[in-house]
Every structure is written in C-alpha cells, then in structure tokens.
C-alpha cells in the first residue's frame, strides 16, 4: 500500500518535472535559421568545389602548371594547360577547368598541390538548369574575383 502511494506520488512529480523542462524550452529563443533569408557561416573544414587561390603580393594565381592535381584526380575532372612566355620564369596558366559533374570532392588535388594554389570554396548554392553550368572555368572565376 505504501509502495503503491509512493509510486503514484513520485510518478506525478516526475510528470511535473517534465512539464517544467518543456516550458523552459518554450521561453528560450528559437534556433531555426530561416535559410534563404539568413545563412550560417560555413565551417573551416567544409569541402565545396575547388577554386584557385591568389598570391597575396601579386594578386595572380599561385599555380605553376605542374599538372600534379590533374594526375592526382581519380575521376579525371581537372584540365590544366599552360604556355611558355617571353620574359616570364616558368609556365603561365592558360586554362584551369573543373568538371564538377564528375568531381567526388575527395580533395586529392588540394593535397597534391605543391604551391597551395587550390583550395576548397565555401560555395554550396549550386543549383542549375544545364550540365554545362557545372564545367567551371576556375581561371575566369579567379579573374572575376579580382
């Protein structure tokens, strides 16, 4: 009999404790992010598609057209081309194309780059209507940034 009553009282009390927890949540601020209107900053380790980085001093690409990324890519989605120019040491980048339809975001290209010329972008709004929209000309993108 004592156990019966004790169980009822402790059970009822636990119900009130539960109500207390939910009402505390009720008065706390909401955590929803209204996505198209608000966005959260992406985390440092987020892997978007790759992009070319700028040299801080010259504002040009750091790419030396060694072709390491092209070789490292398991899905053959990177095309790098360069040419020799008069008066310039080393090769000059003429084409850097990423076929994002094939990219698996493995990051081997970023790892293999000897000059840290490529990095992951924080871009994730990538909806489009054509397949061609996903063949990125990264050189043009870098120039558009400048």
């Amino acid at each position: 009999m004592i156990d019966y009553l004790r169980e009822i009282i402790s059970g009822t009390w636990s119900l009130f404790v539960g109500l207390g927890i939910t009402i505390r949540y009720f008065f706390q601020p909401v955590v929803t992010v209204q996505y198209p209107h608000e966005t959260l900053p992406m985390t440092p380790r987020f892997r978007g598609h790759i992009e070319l980085t700028k040299d801080v001093e010259s504002g040009e690409t750091k790419c030396i057209v060694c072709g390491m990324c092209q070789k490292a890519c398991p899905s053959n989605c990177i095309t790098v081309n360069g040419e020799k120019r008069e008066g310039v040491k080393g090769k000059v980048l003429t084409e850097y194309t990423l076929d994002f339809t094939k990219c698996s975001l493995c990051g081997l290209c970023v790892e293999s780059c000897p000059t840290e010329a490529i990095t992951f972008s924080k871009d994730y709004n990538l909806a489009g209507l054509t397949k061609e929209a996903y063949i990125f000309d990264l050189k043009k993108r870098l120039e558009a940034k400048n």
Partner: protein, 330 residues
C-alpha cells in the same frame, strides 16, 4: 410586425456559439502549431500573414476545396452521419456554459448533466464513423476509443458527483456563484469540504485529456500505429468537421474544468470579475493541454487502462467517501 425577443436571443446565441466554436477550432490549431514549435525551439507557421495568423484560414480553404471521397464499400449513412455526430453535441454543450454572470444561452438546472450526456455522444460518432468506413485501422481505433472512454468516464463522473455533493446543485451558474470572491473560495482550494480537492482537479483534468483523445492518451489517432485511426478514410471537410469537433470538445472540457474548480468568471483576487477571467482561465487550461501533448510520449494502451482502473478510480472513490464523511460530520 412583432418578433418574440426570445427568438432573437436564440438566434444570436446560435450564431455566436457556432462562430465561437469554429473560431476556436481554427485558432487552436494555430496555437497548437506555434506552441509545439516553440517547445521544440522552432518558429512554427510564419509565412501566411503576420505570425502566420492567416494560416488557419488557408488551411480551412484547402480542406473545403478538396474532394469529399466516399470510398467504395463504406456504409454511406454511417460514414456521412459520423462527423456530424461528433460536431453537433460539442456545439450543443456550449448552450449551458455560463461565460459570465449574464452571458449564458440557457441556464439549465441540470446543466452539468447535459454537458456530460452530450459529451458521451462524441464517442458514438467516432465509433460509427470508424465502423462505417470499413477499414481495419479505423475499427481498431474505435475499439480503443470506446474502452478508453468507458474507463475514464467513471473517475470523471465520480469526481463530478463528489463536487455536486459539495455544491448541492447541477446548475453551472450557481456552482460559479458559490465560488465568487477570490481564489481561496474556489472549489480547487475548498479544503474544508475535502482535503483531496486539488487531487480531484488533477483527476478531472487527466480524465478530460483522455475523454477528448488528447496526447498522451491519443490512442484513437495513434499515427505511428493506426495511420489516422478513425479518420483514415475521411478526406477534405469530412475530416475537417471531425477535427473541429475534437477542438470544440477541448474547449468544452477546459470550460467545465474552469467552472467546476477554478471559479468560472471570478477574479483570483476578487476584483473585476467578468468574461475575460473566464477566457483567461479557459485558455490557460487549453495551453496546458497542448503543453502536455508536446511533453509526454503516447502511453501504451495497457498503461492507459491501468492508470484509470488501478489509480484514478480508487482515488476518486476514496475522495467520494471522504467527502461524504466530511459533509456528514461537519
């Protein structure tokens, strides 16, 4: 032309009661969604109108424009009559509820009895609808609703009998006038009549949750087990009317709890009694009903029946005996 003022009064209250019930059904859905959202730290409806206040209107239009499908093989009469059988008694119960000193459609001497008589028709409506829709989930749901309501009607009515023994009347208006003058006069704290009065209120409230098929006793529409329970085969406004009936029943339950235990339109400190206090208490109880829904998970069916037969019924009978003894002695 002479028109009997009684007819105008009747029409005014008819329109008023239906409008009140429909408005409540619409905006309680909004309140439920908002409250659920904030308990889970979300925002809830916000796009349609300021704070999503036009959402119920849009939901209503959606329900009304949908096709009313009557599946092949259903019992056409029972299937169509069931939503009405749920809705009409809920509206009828509003007739006897005194919202304030003067605001009551019909002050009956057996008002309390009328409400409980109509409240039990609700179950019949659900049972007929479920039986008529020729669906196994609906029939399982109906069986659950009936056994649940049989189980919870007993402690509820025993508690009400205890209360009627104290008040000596079934007239809801008189029950409230006995409690006027401040919160220490309310039946909730009427400890001289029975020291178990707060427990009686708790029992009444739990039974009200079960009678209106609200979580954690929502066995009738256990979505994860029974699709939509008794409403599985209903579409469009057929479902809408069921839904409105459910919310109207919650309003009735909260109103009756307010009248019986919380002093109706009485102000807690004895100042400015009026209809606003009735509404504040009633909506606070409804808020609690929704709050409970978003706090507790659904009980098992056996747990639900055990709670009624092993805990609520013995305690309410003990309270009945204690109250009658105290009334006899003092």
């Amino acid at each position: 032309m002479h028109v009997d003022p009684e007819i105008i009064r009747l029409l005014a209250f008819l329109v008023g009661v239906i409008a009140f019930a429909a408005l409540n059904a619409a905006y309680l859905v909004w309140l439920e969604r908002k409250e659920a959202a904030h308990i889970q730290r979300r925002i809830g409806p916000k796009e349609v109108g300021p704070f999503g206040l036009l959402q119920p209107l849009v939901d209503g239009i959606k329900l009304m424009t949908k096709q009313l499908i009557v599946p092949a093989g259903v019992d056409p009469v029972l299937f169509k009559i069931a939503p009405i059988l749920v809705m009409v008694p809920a509206i009828m119960s509003f007739v006897t509820i005194p919202f304030s000193e003067t605001l009551v459609a019909r002050n009956l001497d057996i008002g309390l009895l009328v409400i409980f008589a109509f409240a039990s028709v609700n179950v019949l409506g659900l049972l007929l609808g479920a039986w008529g829709s020729r669906n196994k989930y609906a029939v399982i749901s109906a069986a659950r609703v009936v056994s649940q309501n049989v189980a919870y009607e007993i402690p509820m009515l025993v508690t009400v009998v205890t209360l009627v023994m104290i008040t000596g009347t079934m007239n809801l208006h008189n029950i409230v006038t006995q409690q006027l003058g401040g919160f220490w006069n309310w039946n909730l704290l009427n400890l001289s009549a029975s020291p178990l009065m707060p427990v009686a209120f708790l029992i009444f409230f739990v039974c009200m949750l079960a009678e209106t098929n609200r979580a954690p006793f929502d066995m009738a529409e256990a979505e994860s087990e029974l699709v939509a329970g008794a409403f599985t085969e209903y579409s469009g406004m057929g479902f809408g009317v069921f839904f409105m009936g459910e919310y109207a029943n919650i309003v009735i339950g909260a109103s009756v709890a307010t009248i019986l235990f919380l002093g109706g339109w009485d102000c807690p400190l004895g100042l400015f009694p009026g209809v606003h206090w009735f509404l504040i208490k009633m909506y606070f109880l409804i808020f609690t009903v929704i709050w409970i829904r978003w706090t507790y998970p659904r009980t098992t069916f056996y747990g639900l029946l055990n709670l009624s037969w092993k805990i609520l019924i013995p305690i309410s009978f003990f309270n009945l005996i204690l109250t009658s003894a105290m009334l006899k002695v003092f």
